[in-house]
């Protein structure tokens, strides 16, 4: 009897679950149907708006494509554009629709009027910028704005080359990793020997012992420097953010310094007098001073190149997010939450950009000084440039945290594929030419 009751209850519960599931599916189907209906209504409304725009005296001669772009904007943003003169509207609507939406969303009437008076080429450059720089630039005087835009370079590159400076074959990366591990191991041994030999040398009582230990000490010093150079070399070899020419130059410089050190090691083994060894030790000490300086430059180049990749990817993502926002506006989906988060994302990238610029200035200055003076004091400036680049990367990390949160909203809006799907063909990259370049 009990078994029958339990069986009945189980069947009852299962039936409720199945019914509830079907109910949800039905609601979803109805929602999808409603969305199609809403889209149809939106298209109808947009067509009506376009017709209304055509009736305006200042918009009569504007192309249908241009009017369609304006019609897709939110009402309060549309108003900022429709009041402009015909030629201003024509210039503004020549930019991509998501860029027009970005301009209308982020700039006030006064600034829109100002930028729409610029040449088409400058408008295109301005429109290609992220929203934070767009707002900042639009506040500048005409002269300052033009000067800033002169330094902006927008280029189209294939997706494969957009974010990395070169492609290193898998086998080469694998070989570099193996060589790096070997260099690390040999470096560890050499530096231990260096410490031991130093102790023995400083404790030696007669010249014969001093000679013996000094020879070992200098050999260990040369080996330590050689392996340190090999570590830098292999890190360059596997780095895809340094272009082929720069990487070859850096590796060639390292190879020639290793060759000199190997020759010095050979020389050490042939010397017979303590004073000769001491003199030769001075040569190695001088070599180390130069290598240390040059290494710090190469290390900073690598760090900056890697941070640069994060910038390119983040800036490109922001542009894709603007497209998502424009699509949402077009579909009549509320954009406020995503818009506010894109704002935070963009501001964080801008903070990183400013730190990176400071790093660039400091680095260029230090690099020039190092090449001229070869003074170890210039290393402080190189280190400062490194620290600024690291701080920029930290800000980019914070921007990434905002992005992850933002992507949840984009997913909920059903537009995640517009940001996440891998792209093909060409993408636009915006570069700001540095003051010192």
């Amino acid at each position: 009897m009990k078994k029958i009751v339990i069986l009945v209850l189980l069947m009852f519960v299962f039936s409720i679950i199945v019914l509830a599931e079907n109910e949800v599916k039905q609601i979803k189907t109805e929602e999808a149907g409603n969305a199609v209906a809403i889209t149809a209504v939106k298209e109808q409304t947009r067509a009506e708006i376009t017709e209304q725009l055509k009736e305006r005296e200042n918009l009569k001669e504007v192309s249908q494509e241009g009017l369609d772009k304006i019609a897709q904007l939110k009402e309060q943003n549309r108003e900022k554009i429709q009041e402009l003169k015909q030629e201003q509207v024509e210039r503004l609507t020549a930019v991509k629709e998501e860029r027009l939406a970005k301009i209308a969303r982020n700039l006030n009437q006064k600034n829109i009027e100002k930028i729409s008076s610029l040449d088409q080429e400058l408008i295109e450059k301005l429109a290609s910028l992220d929203r934070t720089r767009l707002k900042e630039y639009a506040e500048l005087s005409d002269e300052e704005l033009k000067a800033k835009l002169e330094k902006i370079n927008v280029k189209k590159v294939s997706v494969e080359k957009a974010f990395k400076e070169r492609t290193v074959a898998k086998e080469k990366v694998e070989l570099a990793k193996q060589n790096l591990n070997q260099a690390k191991e040999e470096y560890k041994q050499a530096k231990e020997q260096l410490k031991e030999q130093k102790k023995l040398l400083l404790g030696a009582e007669d010249d014969a012992k001093k000679f013996e230990y000094l020879r070992e000490y200098l050999t260990s010093a040369a080996n330590t420097i050689i392996n340190r150079l090999n570590i830098v070399k292999e890190k360059i070899n596997e780095n895809e953010n340094i272009d082929e020419v720069a990487a070859s130059e850096m590796v060639a410089d390292i190879d020639s310094r290793i060759k000199e050190l190997e020759e010095n090691k050979e020389k050490i083994s042939t010397l017979t007098a303590l004073d000769e060894l001491k003199e030769h030790g001075k040569v190695i000490a001088e070599q180390w001073r130069e290598i240390k300086l040059k290494n710090s430059i190469k290390e900073t180049e690598m760090l900056r190149a890697n941070v640069q990749e994060v910038f390119k990817r983040s800036e490109h993502l922001e542009a894709r997010l603007e497209k998502v926002l424009a699509d949402m506006e077009e579909k009549g989906i509320p954009t406020e939450i995503i818009d506010a988060k894109v704002d935070s994302f963009s501001s964080k990238i801008d903070e990183a950009r400013n730190l990176f610029k400071q790093s660039q200035e400091k680095f260029n200055e230090a690099k020039n000084l190092v090449n001229v003076t070869m003074k170890i004091a210039e290393m402080n400036q190189v280190k400062e440039a490194q620290e600024l680049a690291q701080q920029a990367n930290k800000k980019l990390k914070e921007a990434h945290a905002i992005l992850v949160d933002l992507m949840e909203n984009v997913k909920n809006a059903g537009l995640a594929k517009d940001v996440e799907e891998p792209e093909t063909g060409e993408v636009e990259i915006v570069e700001e030419v540095s003051e010192n370049e």
């Binding site: 009945v8 019914l19 599916k25 974010f163 330590t224 180390w288 993502l317 996440e420």
Partner: protein
């Protein structure tokens, strides 16, 4: 008593048949994010930048090598 149980079983069975018999609707679903997603690529680039100076900073050994000149003077 048996009648009540019988009717209950019939009612539940009917409910079960109705539940299962409803045609499931096809709802478009959001494709799952792929591993190659652009967001993941940014994350990888950040961690790569973080590791840029890994294995390259060794102030202790730098100091040992900086001391080379003074060691030569001491002997």
């Amino acid at each position: 008593m048996n009648k009540i149980i019988g009717i209950s079983i019939m009612a539940v069975f009917l409910l079960f048949v109705i539940g299962c018999g409803k045609e499931p609707s096809v709802t478009p679903t959001e494709p799952a994010a792929t591993e190659s997603s652009t967001v993941t690529e940014v994350n990888e680039a950040i961690s790569n930048a973080d590791k840029s100076l890994e294995d390259l900073e060794d102030t202790e050994t730098d100091k040992e090598l900086d001391d080379l000149g003074s060691v030569l003077e001491q002997i």
